[in-house]
Symmetry: C2
Subunit: 462 residues, 2 copies
């Protein structure tokens, strides 16, 4: 029995389990679904225990729980790997534009459609299959490395309690390599490995004007309108070149090197196809950078939502009493979220017209950007494991997404390696999220090969 | 029996009727309430018929129905007056900040709280009481002038079918004076008469970007964000001096004269008190004009509402697929709504970034501003009728609100007189709308005195 055959023979069982798990609407951002997030943690605990992990625990975090699992290597000198993923998901409602019920996963040929199938339940679950496949292939009853898994429950809410969870459990999480399974590949045909992720900090800005909505016939044009002030504020976030105009926002950001630009330019990027994936008809952004540079190595400010006044049918001639905006900032290495938050607060405070109240509420401390070293043994091992699984060269990419990866690397002092098989057109965070089942199986294979390779490399140097 | 005593003795009956009528949620802007608008028209028809109007009809308009009533003078040579008001109301939901159910009118001392109590049901209803009081005082069985009433059902939706209704019924609406009862007075202690109203045109602007919301980690900063484009667009609506920056917007607008400025400056305006009424902590607007000038004689652009992307709890890191804004423009004499609409469309079209779709939908043809001539016999008669009712001098004001008054004056070729008793702090178009019952009774008295005075002036000259 080799790894590939084991994985393929267990396809249906794997998909059935993923469907069961993805049916739990573990939306961490919605307090109404916090019971489901707990249910999701319980499901994963049971699944990993059934897969054979000798230790499986639910870890309370102060917010939504994480799941920790451990399967020690037979050889006490073998390296330890820590797999990171998350079991919470983005909000999803049919009204957002789903063609199916988002929490009734539907299999269509090689695809599984449903919230969380790609981000991140499918990618967490392939590890359980991978470790079983490795054991089946080796005939051993323990993996060639000590496999630890930490699957958090608040990633889609900005991981507000995760750094603390890491600190408190630093000893039990100690490892030689961190494997992150929450990213995407270049395409189904061009497997690749992420080597950097932008960070994130996000806020809600609230401007308040009249105590209630007031008639614009009686007051319009003579009292400050919070919707207009919000438009001015949001418009001022960027300059004419598409750069973020918040003073100090770029502090610590290094210009990208010619080498980086070359590496990015080498990729077979088809802008028209990428735009089709976005469903957008034009690329636009910071002047002087290519599209891949804009989404991989440049920081941004993005309006994720805004609302004010009358948003229903018909006309309501009012000066709204408040205006709200949700704005997120993507960060690159060198940017400190706390510094960006402070600069954004100052920027907003300076621009609020007299007569309006203002609040800026950040969703948490934010997450720093992270990157992994292409020349490191861990990245080399992961790359060749993926090449074995996919049977072709694996390229390097960056990722627009963000998570608590920088915290993990910092707290645990271990290098990051990204082994993941999502696709950009998986529509994560959007309606009709799906995952390619064959790629999840390749993910399971890759993990099994990686444990084998890291185990045979023996104990880490130092 | 004199007019005042009749009115006061019928107070409770009047309030009971108004409570019944205001309980009908005749929100013309909401198709879900169109049945209620029809119910409201039927209620008024029955009420006016019971008051003694020999002719009462429901007039279909293509949209929501108007109510027409007529009570001919005994003397066929007496002048004819046409009273204009409306029976539809602004939207209202408890969630907007009401302390009571908006459509369960509640009497508290001298106040009646509920949507439409001031705007405009209370002010329509005092005419039924006024005409009865006049008959009781004179002992006649017909009023001293022919009283026609036209109470429309789409004023709060911009009166889209009203000009057409006027044209079709031009003969039956022929009159010597139009009395508008849909405005406010300076204050409860300082009765006044409106002599001008701004016009209005309003639109919804829709910008569309990606086909659906897309993940801002994967696409943010590299495709145009419709929320950001909307902020840019809305921010560009005004220049740094608070002037509307739409080229051509001010075409036809005359600068106000020194005389007008003086007339406005004579009023006992307490800006701090006015701000308290608005619940706003600062005045702001077009540079070079006072607050009263800004709301009375200067045109404006106002954002009444906007929405885009994620507006619920928590974080959703997306590039929204669309952004919406509701914008209304207050117009002054000299501005043609059609011209303003064309200039706004051009302004928006020029500013939409590549890759975004755009729609600008105006709520109807808009309404021109109107004014009445202070020196005319009709204004003089109305002023002294109000002075008799209130027992004090009546001043002149303008009104920030707008309605189809300009169309009425144009189509019927008759001068406008504003006889109305609302207050700026009635919170029309806002939560907790109320009306002062004693002022409605003064309105009824004023109407009775005005019919008497116009009747004794005899047939109009010419
Ligand atoms: Zn994820
Ligand atoms: Zn009104």
């Amino acid at each position: 029995m080799d790894v590939r055959r084991y994985v393929e023979e267990h396809r249906d069982e794997f998909v059935a389990a993923l469907k069961e798990w993805a049916a739990i609407p573990s939306v961490s951002a919605d307090p109404g679904h916090h019971g489901d997030v707990r249910k999701s943690a319980g499901w994963l605990r049971d699944h990993l225990a059934a897969a054979g992990f000798p230790t499986v625990e639910i870890w309370e975090s102060g917010g939504m729980p994480a799941v920790f699992a451990e399967w020690p290597a037979a050889d006490p000198g073998a390296p330890t790997v820590l797999v990171y993923g998350h079991h919470d998901v983005q909000p999803a409602r049919v009204a957002d534009g789903w063609d199916t019920e988002p929490f009734v996963p539907e299999e269509r040929g090689d695809r599984l459609i449903g919230r969380g199938t790609s981000d991140d339940k499918g990618q967490v679950l392939f590890h359980a299959l991978g470790v079983r496949a490795g054991l089946a292939a080796s005939g051993a009853d323990a993996p060639p490395v000590t496999v630890r898994m930490l699957v958090e429950g608040e990633e889609e809410s900005g991981s507000p309690n995760f750094a603390d969870l890491l600190e408190r459990n630093r000893d039990r999480l100690a490892c030689d390599v961190v494997v992150i399974s929450d990213t995407t590949m270049w395409s189904a045909d061009v497997p690749s490995m992420c080597v950097g992720m932008r960070g994130l900090t996000d806020c809600e800005i609230v401007l308040t004007g009249p105590e209630t909505d007031v008639h614009s016939g009686s007051f319009g044009g003579a009292v400050p309108n919070p919707a207009r002030a919000m438009a001015d504020l949001l418009s001022a976030l960027h300059d004419g070149d598409g750069r973020v105009a918040v003073p100090g926002f770029y502090d610590g950001v290094a210009e990208i090197s010619a080498e980086e630009r070359d590496l990015i330019a080498r990729l077979p990027f088809d802008e028209a196809e990428w735009l089709a994936t976005a469903g957008s008809s034009a690329a636009s952004g910071e002047a002087g950078y290519s599209t891949l540079e804009r989404i991989w190595v440049r920081p941004t400010a993005e309006i994720n939502g805004m609302w004010s006044g009358h948003t229903g049918a018909g006309t309501k001639t009012i000066v709204p009493h408040s205006a709200h905006a949700k704005v997120s900032f993507r960060l690159v290495p060198g940017q400190e979220p706390a510094h960006v938050q402070e600069r954004v607060r100052a920027f907003v405070a300076e621009r609020v017209p007299a007569g309006l109240g203002v609040r800026v509420e950040f969703g948490g401390p934010g997450v720093r950007a992270c990157a992994s070293d292409i020349a490191s043994p861990a990245v080399r091992a992961a790359r060749s494991a993926m090449e074995r699984a996919f049977g072709t060269e694996v390229l390097f990419t960056r990722e627009g997404g963000s998570g608590p990866e920088a915290d993990i690397a910092d707290v645990l002092g271990a290098p990051l390696v990204f082994v993941a098989v999502g696709l950009d057109d998986d529509r994560i965070h959007a309606p009709n999220e799906k995952v390619e089942i064959p790629l999840l199986l390749k993910g399971a294979e890759s993990a099994a090969y990686l444990w084998e390779r890291l185990g045979s490399q023996g104990p880490p140097a130092g």
